[in-house]
Symmetry: C2
């Protein structure tokens, strides 16, 4: 339990109304999207960079662990409070500090909602490309911590690719200023990209300078029904070997389609559909039809049952209906979704999906797969009943087998969700001991007392 | 001087034919493109990752400083031997270890020539986008160390954006394996991008997994003559505020044009030309004419004297003649070129070029400016006589003023050349003390004895 004099120090530094230690508030900040819950000792709501410096100095002086938090929309436990820690919520730091369309940049505090940045950018003919599924409510600070991404990553890259510079507070309360405001810059070590994706273990980001892109004139969508996952993923391979980069290249496997059948969202799919691809192209009005032609040519092949295109908003929404209904439908299969987020080289996707199917059969588990196929990024969801010990043991065995196969295929454990608390045990399978030791030593540089988001990212 | 038993240890580990300590070899490796020269104590030519581990362990055990070297084509002293150091040349590590067009990746050793990677990629319809001016002879290891870039960066980004993973050897001889083989991956801290641009101060890169892109069908070029630098740079600003990204957007100022007049390369410029822009568009055959139309529309404006376009190879070469003749022509102005590589936000470029002109006048110095205007990256060349003490003092004063102005405008010291030995004194103007201390501490993590490229990147 947090000592009363430490709580008093936080109150003195931040103000009474920014420090909560009551059971109700602590309960509200006890969990993220993982099915776990740990009560923090208190919740702090800093309003400025200076507040963050002040609270971190107090935490450092008294050895108080800090769990930084955006919207709590992560699903790997990144914002799950470490036992005995104080949550630092960035909700109140939501100012846009600068917006300079002429230099295609915006400077924001970490509590700004991701889609609000995009909306602001669009007011000046620009956009913010990273589009995590949680973008309507996730905070940019959480996106930065986890290096969030979404469907547009296949064309536009991930959060890390859109960050020019950061201001952050280390575990000892020092301010670091990284990067620059220009699209090129090689002065000093690249701390900016080191902090992005470090899951709050190195420093608390208090300000981010983000790069923006000109908004494309228009978007068009293709929805393709295939007779098998392999046929669909072979088509993905063909798309990624020609020059037109789609702005989304999403895959749903047979179980995902089965999951949405009760909702009616699969009614307009071609009979016999066992895999679905959603493909988008964006760009200038004049270019998009030609891009769509090129993508259609690459996508056509054995096992393609039907291809529909949409160029108008209403048609596009209709085509996406099957994919958009998935998240909700999957939850009906079983009470608990163990949500993996693996990546394999695009050329190995079909082999990996076969392996997932074989594992689902051998372990008698429903496994629903879908994801960002153009990046080789597959969300593999094991649907289980947490009170069924035998099923949970099979799920664990299945996970171990899946992760081993991912790595054997030259893949990586996580494409966009991160490691958090949930995937730490797999990390040593991917990162060897000397490299992990370098990462731990860098952690000690930023956070000598080990106070920042303990129990995340690094394996025990 | 290197102790005989250390030399013997290197010879035993690498073989006699990979260790040279004779005056002739040492003289060949005493300099890079800076006008300086420091004799190393020996030159090592490792042939494999294991050789690099072996030599680094010996260096670590005996406290021998290492100066890593690609082609020595850098111009900030990055490969200039530290006094009493041993040069490690990666020339003999030039194997392509893997080339997988289906996954758009190539795995190379550091000694592969940059353009050879591009050539290999093109054999399969792909290309390697970073295009430093030295690409015909620079080694990819040097590009990685300095985070090299070139004209295409305005559309395609810099070296760092095309690296998926690395194998490297730390200052204590440990092997680190960073990153992944896929276009997404968030497992662990991002050591890959930390090592890129670290100028050989953290680890010796022995293997790099590089991302490739589909090669565009075609390229077209515009050459634009303007009545003033400000008119040209205003046009740059307009280009960067519309959606069509050019694949090059290069600027030459009035003094650069004056410099090429004696060569005849300026003969076909419009009368009264005081600034030149070179603009390229690349993409699909069908798209490029429309892109050129859009770029022309954005470029047109006050002060534009003439705009010529080229769609065929011969025309394109003719249009680039003025720009390509520049490097050679500039050298005739004075014996020494002090080559700065600053970046300012695109919206401040015209102000900065005005300041450069004012500085050139007040310090009575010829200053030739040209560069990658779409990134705000300007090569500012102070042409001086090194034996003229008064001129050198004025050059130093001019440099100090220029750097201060760059930073005041929100810019950065170097866009692509790096810091090396030559710009270290300016670093504390851009990076504050606590952030520099974090960088130094990270350096100690990788290189506890401070043996890797001492005297580079970090200020004293």
């Amino acid at each position: 339990m947090l000592a009363e004099h430490v709580l008093a120090a936080f109150r003195f530094a931040l103000g009474e109304d920014r420090v909560f230690a009551d059971g109700g508030t602590c309960a509200l900040y006890a969990s993220d999207e993982t099915p776990k819950s740990v009560l923090p000792d208190a919740v702090l709501f800093p309003a400025s960079h200076d507040d963050v410096v002040a609270l971190m100095r107090i935490a450092h002086a008294h050895g108080v662990a800090i769990t930084p938090r955006g919207a709590g929309s992560g699903n790997v436990g990144g914002a799950l409070p470490a036992p005995g820690s104080v949550v630092v919520s960035f909700e109140c730091m939501r100012r846009v500090l600068e917006f300079i369309p002429g230099d295609r940049l915006v400077v924001v505090e970490p509590g700004v909602v991701t889609e609000d940045i995009d909306r602001l950018a669009r007011s000046a003919g620009l956009f913010y490309p990273p589009d995590p599924g949680s973008g309507a409510y996730s905070r940019i600070g959480g996106n930065l911590a986890m290096n969030a991404a979404g469907p547009r990553a296949v064309k536009y890259g991930v959060t890390r690719d859109w960050v020019l510079g950061l201001v952050a507070v280390t575990g000892s309360g020092e301010t670091v200023r990284t990067g620059c405001r220009t699209t090129k810059g090689v002065t000093g070590l690249d701390l900016t990209r080191l902090l992005v994706g470090s899951e709050g273990t190195l420093a608390l980001i208090t300000e981010a300078t983000l790069k923006l892109a000109p908004v494309p004139d228009t978007v068009a969508t293709l929805r393709l029904c295939f007779a098998s996952p392999r046929a669909a993923l072979d088509a993905v391979g063909r798309v990624m070997q020609q020059p037109v980069l789609p702005s989304a290249l999403e895959f749903m496997d047979a179980r995902a389609i089965d999951a949405i059948r009760p909702t009616g969202a699969a009614d307009d799919l071609a009979p016999g559909t066992r895999a679905l691809l959603m493909v988008e192209a964006d760009g200038a009005h004049e270019d998009v039809p030609r891009q769509i032609d090129a993508l259609q040519a690459a996508l056509a092949g054995e096992g393609l049952l039907e291809m529909r295109s949409g160029f108008e908003r209403a048609d596009i929404v209709r085509l996406w209906a099957a994919r958009k209904s998935l998240s909700h439908a999957v939850k009906k299969i079983a009470p608990l979704k163990i949500n993996e987020d693996v990546v394999v080289p695009v050329s190995r996707l079909a082999d990996f999906v076969d392996f997932v199917d074989a594992t689902a059969q051998s372990q008698h588990l429903p496994i629903v797969s879908f994801g960002h196929a153009g990046n080789g990024n597959l969300h593999v969801n094991l649907m289980v009943h947490p009170d069924d010990a035998d099923e949970m043991a099979r799920a664990r065995a299945a996970l171990d087998a899946l992760m081993a196969r991912v790595l054997a295929l030259g893949g990586t454990l996580s494409g966009e969700h991160g490691i958090g608390t949930e995937k730490r045990r797999f990390v040593p399978m991917e990162i060897d001991a000397p490299t992990l030791e370098i990462m731990r030593a860098i952690k000690r540089v930023f956070d000598p007392r080990g106070l920042l988001n303990p129990g995340k990212l690094f394996p025990d």
